[in-house]
């Protein structure tokens, strides 16, 4: 059963077309990865799903309804949350206040302040610190916690590993199993291909706004990925 399906989605920035007829889907409870080079349109796709940019053509069907032209805050309340690239915590709020912003307009569900602190014990001790004063990895945990507190059915993770130490990245990705256990489907956008494969069941490769590969993460070969990633379709 599809939780979300994008059908021939075209996104424009002014006259500039960013994606061309993107079609992809996520099953309920599944984690998929979207990989691709800088500027391939990965973040743009996530922004279109949650409504920060609007798709000009095509449909984005979430739980049976087209949300392609629904306002961002209403999409969020239907159960989609974004962990944005660069984390984008509210710098003038404390760690806990950032989390509370996620909880303030939340749907009913399993995630509470307490369960987020259990998922990431480190941030409990930092809860009264200004969000701008903690390390990048800790900020990433707060950003994930903030998104989870809205009790989403679909979590969009944009470049979680950007600028973080490998150990910290591994630590964050190990929590995905726990997040999935609570019934959250996940779309992971990653530049780190190994990380993307390991954390997902299927992956899509995006090249200059077009899907060039859809494959099972477990069986896809590095050659296939290389061709899809760089666009040299000849072997």
């Amino acid at each position: 059963m599809n939780l979300i399906a994008l059908e021939n989605v075209d996104i424009f920035y002014g006259d500039l077309q960013a994606t061309f007829g993107v079609t992809l889907h996520v099953n309920a409870g599944e984690t998929i990865a979207i990989i691709g080079a800088n500027g391939a349109g990965k973040s743009t796709l996530l922004h279109a799903i949650i409504g920060l940019t609007l798709a000009r053509h095509g449909r984005i069907v979430f739980d049976g309804e087209d949300i392609a032209r629904v306002r961002c805050d209403l999409v969020a309340r239907r159960g989609i949350a974004l962990v944005p690239e660069g984390r984008r915590l509210f710098p003038s709020l404390s760690v806990e206040e950032n989390l509370l912003m996620g909880a303030a307009r939340a749907r009913p569900g399993p995630w509470t302040l307490e369960s987020v602190y259990e998922l990431f014990p480190t941030i409990r001790e930092l809860r009264h610190q200004p969000a701008s004063d903690i390390s990048g990895g800790q900020q990433q945990m707060v950003a994930i916690g903030r998104a989870l507190l809205t009790n989403p059915r679909l979590l969009l993770c944009d470049e979680l590993s950007l600028g973080l130490a490998p150990k910290v990245i591994a630590d964050i990705y190990t929590r995905f199993a726990e997040i999935r256990e609570r019934g959250v489907s996940i779309i992971v956008v990653e530049q780190d291909i190994a990380r993307a494969r390991a954390s997902s069941s299927r992956l899509y490769c995006l090249l200059k706004g077009r899907i060039t590969l859809e494959a099972s993460s477990a069986t896809v070969t590095l050659d296939d990925i290389r061709h899809a990633y760089f666009g040299d379709f000849l072997p």
Binding site: I50, G51, L52, R71, C72, D73, A76, R77, A81, L82, P84, R88, F90, P91, S92, L93, E97, L100, M101, G102, A104, R105, A106, R146, A147, T150
Partner: protein
Amino acid sequence: MSFVEAILNGLMVGGLYGLFGLGLALAFGIMRIVNIAHGEFVVLAAYFGMILLTLTPLPLPIVVVCVAATAFVLGWLLQLALLNRFLGPNPVPSMIVTLGLSIVVRNLLVRIFGANIHSIDIGPLQNVGFRFLGLSIGAVPLIIFAVALLLFFGMHMLLQHTTLGRAFRAAADDFEILETLGFNRRRIYNVAMGVAVALAAIAGLLLAMRSSFGPFSGVERLLIAFEVVIIGGLGSLRGCFFGGLFLGVVQVVGLKLAPNSGPLFSHLAFFVVLLLRQANLAPLLAWARK
């Protein structure tokens, strides 16, 4: 009136100046709107309070609450009906809209009330006071200062300890992310403008009990609000408060030295603050130490 009394009176006026600045800073901090009509709302509140006090038997505290509530609704409607259409990275469109609004309000006031100067007469309360350490302190200035303090404290509690206040701060930081968390930012803006105008209105009404006002007083009030915000720094409650007190004290003490100076000294003080902020003070201090 001794200098100490002048300073005390200055603190009272300064508390109100701080509130002018706070309203302006709130609107700019949260929705990047420079509300040029801010001063007109200050004056509008004074007129409205005057009407209520002359035409109805309502006691003064109730009138203040009525004016504040009306101002909140007015600010809320202004944002909802007009200013939300001009949101964006460029602050100029909303500046032009509020500039136009200020011209309309000013001329409506002239049309309805004439160009005369008014003041609000609060009756015998005006002369109530007490002596303390040889100083005579009026009850009204004291109450007004207390109200200003209370409003600043209330705003602090609102911003720090309520979801709405956190949403204000979060909207100022990053409104896109706020929307991805399910907040409708336009609704938050409506409330924020309501609060900003209400603060200006309360301060405007209280100031009208101490000094006169006319349909053209808004510009002067707006100038003060700008000066408070620039001295105190945007996004700082404490800065607005002390910026207001500074300007108020300078103005009243200046008036004592030169009774016809009007607001001259506070503007001069503001100018000096600007100069000092631009100046590279380190070499000057080093030179002074030699």
